[in-house]
Symmetry: C2
Subunit: 363 residues, 2 copies
Amino acid sequence: MKSPFLSRRDFLKTSALAVAGLPLLGTQAAEPKRKIGFALCGLGNLSTHQIAPALQTTEFCRLAGIVTGTPAKAARWKAQYNIPDHCIYNYDTMAQMADNPDIDVVYVVTPNALHEESTVKAAKAGKHVLCEKPMEISVARCQQMIDACRDAKKLLAIGYRLHFEPNNLECVRLAREKVFGQLKSIEAGFGFAIGDPKQWRLNRALAGGGPLMDVGIYALQAMRYLTGDEPVEVSATQSTTDKTKFHDVEETISWQLKFPGGLLANGEATYGFNGPNRFNAYAERGSFGMEPAYSYHGLRGHRSDGHEIQLPDIDQFAAEMDDFAQCILNQRPTRVPGEEGLRDVKIMMAIYEAARTGKAVTL
Amino acid sequence: MKSPFLSRRDFLKTSALAVAGLPLLGTQAAEPKRKIGFALCGLGNLSTHQIAPALQTTEFCRLAGIVTGTPAKAARWKAQYNIPDHCIYNYDTMAQMADNPDIDVVYVVTPNALHEESTVKAAKAGKHVLCEKPMEISVARCQQMIDACRDAKKLLAIGYRLHFEPNNLECVRLAREKVFGQLKSIEAGFGFAIGDPKQWRLNRALAGGGPLMDVGIYALQAMRYLTGDEPVEVSATQSTTDKTKFHDVEETISWQLKFPGGLLANGEATYGFNGPNRFNAYAERGSFGMEPAYSYHGLRGHRSDGHEIQLPDIDQFAAEMDDFAQCILNQRPTRVPGEEGLRDVKIMMAIYEAARTGKAVTL
């Protein structure tokens, strides 16, 4: 199955990967009933309120284990999900997963700057890795993650849940099939008024950056999956109105990407206010977009010809995990490989450079 | 009456002007029934389809004369509006207006690069000037217009019709009275797929630039009238996908303004596609905006608390002209003086410089 999100370059790359290096798996296509065992690594809000509940609704996955540095969380999860002791790890014991056939995948849900460490440990323990976005806080670390999984002959996917979301997929179809003609411009923004000033998202060492890394990445992804293309030039401006809360990362950032052929994309991300949750794509003969575009539920799209876009509201995390499980079961490449995550990080680093220097950056 | 659009700086400036230099007018407040005579200078689409019809609905104005370089237009307008021969001018005979007491105001509606010439001629002939936006194609020319009207002791206003539009004014009130708290960010865009490739708007010598000058100025104005402040830094990116049609001016341009205190504003203007017609203002406790924001009719606003903004749909040109007539009749300053027009041109020139150089420009 070719994902409508994949650019031609992606497709060739992942197809080549599939032929050249995709691991032979212990699980054969002849045993389709076996559920892929997921260990959740990092038991914060996302794991607690989204991923663990989603796992209960998947077709091909099961919550098999956990990795946490907090014994109290381990006890709570053990009780709630009936997780056996041999499937409970902390960050120092992950190497022992190598001896645990119940765990096929480690889903890395830690703060951004800890993704590389856990991914490499998981890969070395012979596990496939699904890693939350943003992939990491530098291109070099992303590359290390890709290398570690490739060396271990394990799959690596990034948690880009919207690649499995029907309304976003419909917009990708409208763009790629040129239903309104050639795309001319995209504007996309995502932001919210962040709460607790002590959370890791406001700590540059753990987050790698501010709202761009956390929510701006959705707007950046929209630009990339709608065009199916890669930007060639970036400019950006960042700004902070509350210097007490935002002393370590930016409060608000806007950026412009120029794509081959001249398409211009404008993005904005913020932690300073309840901002947009939206993209709009303008084409030769009309426009379309979504608002809200990036939420877990309730997404809605619009088209300039008056048609609404309101396809089924699915559990995006369940879809994402079931897809990864099927990649493993059927030995096919993921539509959201590590290379996709690295490309976003590379562009985000260029956005930060452009904002810092006040100069356009060529990619 | 203090306009809610005026910044403190504007107000002091225009008040000072009123005290120091506002001309004594032939018309006294004791004769409120006298209608101010407008001569339309430039009889293109805007004059034909908007301004002349609007003049028929004004309370304090009348269509008194015309200035046109096209004899056939003169004949048509003479017949349609019963304009006497002594009130029909061409660009070479404008000096003779000095002897015509029927004409109080020249409304300059020519291509942008001809505004200065007609404004100076009108001022020298002792007429007040209302000039369409953008004021001119350079800061120097704007200053010459201001100087000419000041030397002649005549009023100069720029045709910023939205300063008289109730829905836009309500948004200015929401911003200035901090109904949703301090403003944090603004995004504004305006654009359309331009038709005839031979029109003057695509000719840099006549237009001074592309969609930024023509429609982007509305988005820029929104940023300035919502904040009541002046930007301190500009960055911008421009792009062209159709190099046949857009060989002389930009097709699409996006820009970012940083305001004192850190507010960030993102703008976009285009001639390449039917783009946005919108602004959104994000504040501490909510957001509001308009879509469509800049049209002649049918404007609608929205607020994050669910209230709609839908105030009466007025004839904006009539309101603008009646206000200017009242400024003349009551010897008060206009809320849209030449200085306001110059400031936009200055910022737009900085936007073009930033786009051309790929570097942020400090204002």
